[in-house]
Subunit: 324 residues, 2 copies
């Protein structure tokens, strides 16, 4: 691999000058500049990132810390992040904690050792892992905001409202709630958005909390069988909705004929199950893009906005809700 020194030798100039050319610094004549650039092309010069990193303290790499790639919510996000990062010349280092906080911590340590310039993080648990605490790099959260951090996510409140409005339009006034975990703000807001939209007109017959991974607790299953005359089940996310639909189907309860179901997220599965799931679509690509842009801004010194960046969501109407 040719180094800056080789270029210097070939052009007959000092390494400092070569460095200045390569970094677009002033104080170097046009003639010399051209020669250096040409030589760089010819030799196929590639900057040695490790050396740069050592000198400048910046690696031009960012970390992406996710709870679980097999949760179909995340791949699209990861793809968006990677792509916009790459177009900014940033390398994405992936951590998939498999839902565990210790994996998350280990990953953060690894990232910090490698000196990533910033981190995009979708936290798995409610508190802040130690490795992140004593890390002086910018962090932006996606999907799951936390006080004190920059964040970009969807307008969950609006999503809940959209769902409520739609429910009403379709004539559902008595619903059951399969909400996500109460310590996740994103779950809480979906729920609140729904409940508070039409408090008088929509009656929630029951509510049970389950994890965002969608696995149904005993309580959830029991409640699902009783249903207490709820005509619509509003799930905290698509995974929950889909699992619920399967469970209902196994017990001979037809969706949407016996009961309607809505999800949230519009993961890829939603259009592939049957009945196809009516749900709220998040603009995942936009979220990923923006997260990287924000991080990139913060990395180059601009103050990071303390208020979260929030994207509007849209209702996608499919076949899991029947009008009554």
């Amino acid at each position: 691999m040719p180094t800056i020194k080789d270029l210097a030798a070939r052009v007959g100039v000092s390494v400092a000058t070569v460095s200045n050319v390569l970094n677009g610094k002033p104080n170097v004549g046009a003639a010399v500049r051209d020669k250096v650039l040409r030589a760089a092309k010819e030799l196929g010069y590639q900057p040695h990132r490790a050396a740069q990193a050592m000198r400048t303290g910046r690696t031009r790499a960012i970390g992406l810390v996710l709870p679980d790639l097999t949760n179909p919510f995340f791949p699209q996000l990861a793809q968006a992040v990677e792509n916009t990062a790459r177009h900014l010349g940033l390398l994405v280092c992936l951590i998939d904690s498999q839902g565990g906080t210790e994996g998350e911590s280990d990953g953060l340590i690894l990232l910090s050792q490698h000196g990533v310039d910033g981190i995009i993080w979708c936290p798995v648990g409610p508190h802040i892992p130690a490795p992140l605490r004593d890390l002086d790099r910018p962090v932006v959260l996606i999907d799951r905001p936390k006080p004190g951090f920059a964040a970009v996510h969807s307008n969950y409140l609006q999503g809940g409202q959209l769902l409520a409005r739609y429910a009403l339009q379709q004539g559902h006034t008595r619903v059951g709630l399969l909400s996500g975990p109460s310590d996740l703000e994103s779950a809480q807001q979906r729920r609140n958005g729904f409940i508070r939209a039409y408090p008088k007109r929509i009656r929630v017959a029951w509510e049970v909390r389950v994890g965002f991974d969608g696995i149904l607790t005993r309580e959830a299953r029991d409640t699902l069988l009783r249903r207490q005359r709820a005509s619509l089940i509003v799930a905290g996310n698509d995974l929950i909705a889909i699992n619920a639909m399967h469970f209902l189907a196994e017990h001979g309860i037809s969706v949407p004929d016996d009961v309607s179901v809505t999800g949230f997220d519009d993961i890829s599965w939603a259009k592939v199950v049957s009945p196809r799931l009516t749900t709220i679509a998040q603009p995942l690509t936009a979220i990923g893009n923006r997260a990287v842009e924000l991080l990139q801004g913060a990395m180059s010194g601009s103050k990071i906005p303390s208020r979260p960046t929030i994207f509007d969501v849209t209702l996608v109407e499919r076949d899991s809700v029947k009008s009554i």
Copy 2:
């Protein structure tokens, strides 16, 4: 951040000795060793990876180059790779080329600039991108082998055979083939495994090629409608199978009552569509693990096996095939 020099000063010893302790080199007394280790703990010393990289030429990072994370085949693979890599102290740098060869090339350049120690690669196209050619780091291919490269993948041939045997057991002797692209060995072998298992007893009524992304060509759709009395459609992968099932459903053709369908891969969607898809499961986690282990071996100098590492697959029987 404390450096090796700080440790040295604190213990009252030279930096060389500290380095030797930290790297488990011999020729340092037990007493000194303990003191250094203790000091490292107390100060919370973290090695400066960039500096190490510069000196040693190794970064302890690997690249993972995938065609498309939103293809549900890859997330599990990525997760497996990341996890076993992390447990070996390796950081995974992700490239998602979104199916394009130029994205793939750009990604490879980025990886090579960052000096990753090795690359796990699932190629999108038939030929080898330039940046990879003049890269002297070990590469191991996953899922899609190429002559001249180390590879780990499933036993596609066996998968095809399994499918053929099962088809016969269920009484299907006249089949249609929705094969994957003929320039992908992994597609070719699935097909050949199936066809050559019982050449006399199973008759292939028609065959059409489609991409592994599963989108159905005009020809595929037309053929699907005619079907020519094939009782079973053998798809090149699950994506194709699922799209075919949807297409058939739209046209009032019932699976598996009117025609049976099989897939290949056992992606997450397979158990979520209805009818649930009968397919071949690849041991993705094992493949990911092994790929990392192989790469790690190659990185530490051991010769890489030129023969691919091949994993057995299993048939998972669900509801998309009817016995006749």
